[in-house]
Symmetry: C2
Subunit: 518 residues, 2 copies
């Protein structure tokens, strides 16, 4: 299983004599072939420039770092002495919002350190569409490229310090991101991703020297960028399918990655269909009056008494609330619905005898926390507009799932497992997500949260070169359905704009709960 | 035969639709596979950066330039419209003294233009040893690299202008040079070439992007540097063996390339042995009192009357003489010897009744032209010291040939053809070269002058990718004999320090001439 594309070989070369006067490079090739059966070797000029001096200063005992490019090996470093015990890699998830970097021990198959930060591009727009628009401005593409590279370079340094590794000891980088992020990362203009018929420049697996695109690593270190499927199903999804083991299962499986965009994949080891829909930023706290990211002070759990309509809140860090994050939002909506404070359309029942539900010039709202209980100088409320945004987001995702199932002629109830990826997925309560109709109603044990699937796949590829090929196969095999031109999508979407859904028969458990309530 | 590694394909791509929404790169790959059966394609990021825009501005009709790297194809350029008729290459001979560039039409297999100039490195030393020493100074290596690159860049521009080709239309470069020149060209320090046991950094065929080492060509154009055999048998010799067809013959053949160093190869299509000796600069006019390169005003032919001892001179450009070049020197020495003006050891007969032979504080000399017949403010003479230098030079070469023959147990008289390479070879008179014992005495029709063998091989590789592999095979197959440690070399050398040789039996024709003279 542990079979990284980059390996280090300690090798002792016979000292040249008049009778064995091969060049340094030919001597190295001969010994790699003799001692390790490694053939088809290429070497960059930059390595050759130092080779003679390293060999002699090291008295012909060196460590060679080899990258297996698939059709042969490349010598990417030559060091004096035996450094083969230290061989490190980097896995990167390039999210539109957050970038996560892990430092890996390639010899041991272990994660040594992890760091994350906002993607520096956020200053140029919050979602991929605004980034694509920004990239069309003068120097916009260059700026976006520089920002994400700079974010990544800082994170690499940070993980190296944490793990007590020199940056120069890192021998490989594997990155996954959505198609737009992959473009900007590589310095490619994502312009045509946004224009029908939505064409990326490249979706296949990219192998490029990290330094060439500005990553501060030793010359000749290769970067692998995971392949995309289409403009809106990117390398992060391929990576998730790979990292989660989805591609190996015979079970009918559904993969859901919810961020600003929702991507869904249905299939098993034999076939894969995928689609993407714009969920909007609601699940990340965007477009919600008091929405925020899942950080300290965010309301992440809500319980509402059906007697008093009073809420019980749990915040991250157990401090006074500052706002509400995605999981809190789902929780709150589900509770408001179950308690009858909102109806199936997400509209407030204004006849209730509670100060928590009120109306003002912007419409109705529910007070989660009064001003004096919060960290901010205002009541924290959930408005009808917020609930509208949430329902549209979950409706789009559920409609996408419906279209996927219909496209291959299976029923949603046939799904045998649901894999939920995305940082968001860590905090979500399945039951609540089912109550609002974000996820199909299936037994709780059929849901698997994998966390950051994109990072998981990138790490897997760093640890095993065979998975590079597998990633390409996954991307090739996946059939992409473009929802924006799908004649049935709007219909399925409208049907999903209810809590949990117009088709209540698909949510028998939720129906039962509603019945027991009344 | 015409089968260049770089080809251009005009291709029309189907316009993308929602139902055929492959990325630009995958579309290109699919169509190259469908239309031309070209698979295993790689593409540099720099190409991807423009791909989307070129495709759309060209309305999906483009010309793709493909480089066959042996284990797959690389897209090295994408142009709008059909430019496939224009595909040009560059062949370079990087001589220690002179650099020659040819501009090639890769579609037609034709040479369109040729330019040459001194190697800009001459200012840093005349021979490879002085260049190696210079390279060890501070910034010396960088300076030498920059100088030869600058020479080459100027020559490429010059040939492009002559041939009415844009430099951006050049798609490949192939270069050959001796081992030290190849090192300096690639920016590699030749330090250990000069130190026993004389080890180059790399001798195998090098594939590198031309721009990476500073050659002013379009990004992604590949440079092929022909493989060397050893520190003193370089890519120029591999190239000559390839270009001359030596490697295909069954005849026992001798290849001689005479420059500042003399390199000799003995063998046939089955086996090859090679050696190198420092001939000194005599044949290029160096170390000779009135020596000069074969340019206008150089004495290139000499006849001397055995009655009067008066010379008849032919100069290049038929102007008054300025000095004497290599062929003139050989001619003069042979004539002086045949007329008895000098003896077998190259010493003057001072008893002759002629003002042409005289002595002064530096020893004896022969006046080729008196001051008033010359372009310079002095008599042009040939001194005993000049003759000593010449005899040492030819002695070293002949001794090398002897050692090669002995090493494989053949007699020099068994040699079936002699191939003479080097710019020098163009002007030499075989008979005269045999008289002084520079070449073995064989029938005149066994001698072939091929001119610049190094350039010939480089051109052949530009025209046919199969020959890249052949060049590597030749270099691998060639056995190198290091003369400096050969116990017999000194003995053979001392024997060759006579005109034509101590072993007169090997020169029966010369003996007959000498007999008929007396």
């Amino acid at each position: 299983m542990l079979n990284p594309a980059v390996t280090k070989k300690f090798i002792e070369l016979p000292i040249p004599t008049i009778d064995d006067s091969l060049s340094d490079l030919e001597r190295l090739k001969r010994e790699l072939s003799r001692q390790f059966d490694i053939k088809n070797l290429t070497v960059d000029i930059s390595i050759l420039k130092n080779l003679a001096f390293v060999l002699r200063s090291a008295e012909w005992k060196i460590t060679v770092t080899l990258f297996d490019a698939g059709n042969g090996f490349e010598v990417i470093n030559v060091e004096a002495g035996n450094t083969s015990a230290r061989n490190f890699g980097i896995a990167i998830d390039i999210g539109t919002t957050t970038v996560v970097v892990q430092l890996l021990d390639l010899n041991e198959g272990e994660v040594l350190a992890k760091s994350s930060n906002y993607n520096g591009q956020i200053s140029c727009g919050e979602d991929v569409i605004s980034r694509i628009i920004f990239a069309q401005k003068k120097d916009g593409l260059e700026k976006l490229h520089d920002l994400v590279i700079s974010t990544i370079n800082s994170l690499i340094k940070e993980t190296a310090i944490k793990a007590e590794v020199e940056v120069g000891e890192i021998t490989t980088v594997v990155a996954a991101g959505n198609t737009t992020m992959s473009h900007l990362f590589l310095g490619l203009n994502p312009k045509f991703i946004r224009e029908a018929p939505y064409i990326p420049i490249a979706s296949s697996l990219q192998l490029v020297k990290a330094k060439e695109i500005g990553i501060d690593l030793k010359e000749n270190v290769y970067l692998t960028v995971l392949p995309s499927v289409a403009s809106y199903v990117g390398g992060d999804i391929t990576s998730g399918i790979l990292g989660s083991g989805f591609f190996q299962t015979e079970k009918l499986s559904l993969f859901i990655d919810i961020g600003t965009n929702g991507e869904m994949v249905l299939g098993n080891s034999e076939w894969l269909v995928a689609c993407s829909c714009s969920a909007g930023p609601a699940f990340e706290g965007g477009g919600i009056k008091h929405g925020m990211r899942a950080t300290k002070g965010a309301i992440e759990q809500v319980r509402i008494s059906c007697q008093t309509c009073e809420p019980m809140l749990l915040t991250i860090g157990q401090v006074r609330p500052k706002g509400i994050c995605g999981s809190g939002l789902i929780d709150a909506a589900a509770e408001l619905f179950l308690t009858g404070i909102i109806n199936q359309k997400g509209k407030f029942n204004l006849d209730l005898d509670t100060p928590r539900v009120r109306t003002n010039e912007n419409g109705a709202e529910y007070v989660l926390a009064f001003k004096d209980e919060t960290q901010i100088d205002a009541d924290i409320v959930l408005t009808e507009i917020d609930l509208d945004n949430l329902i549209r987001a979950k409706g789009a995702i559920y409609a996408g799932i419906t279209i996927l199932a219909e496209s291959v002629g299976v029923k949603i109830s046939d799904i045998e497992q649901i894999i939920i990826a995305g940082a968001f997925g860590n905090y979500i309560e399945i039951e609540k997500a089912v109550i609002i109709g974000l996820f199909p109603e299936l037994e709780a044990d059929k849901f698997n949260f994998i966390g950051n699937g994109s990072l998981m796949g990138a790490r897997a590829v760093a640890f095993s070169k065979d998975l590079r090929e597998t990633a390409s196969l996954i991307a090739d095999k996946m059939t992409y359905l473009e929802l924006s031109v799908n004649p049935d999508f709007m219909d399925r979407y409208v049907s999903a704009l209810f809590l949990p859904h117009t088709d209540l028969a698909s949510f028998p458990g939720v129906m039962k709960m509603l019945e027991s309530r009344t």
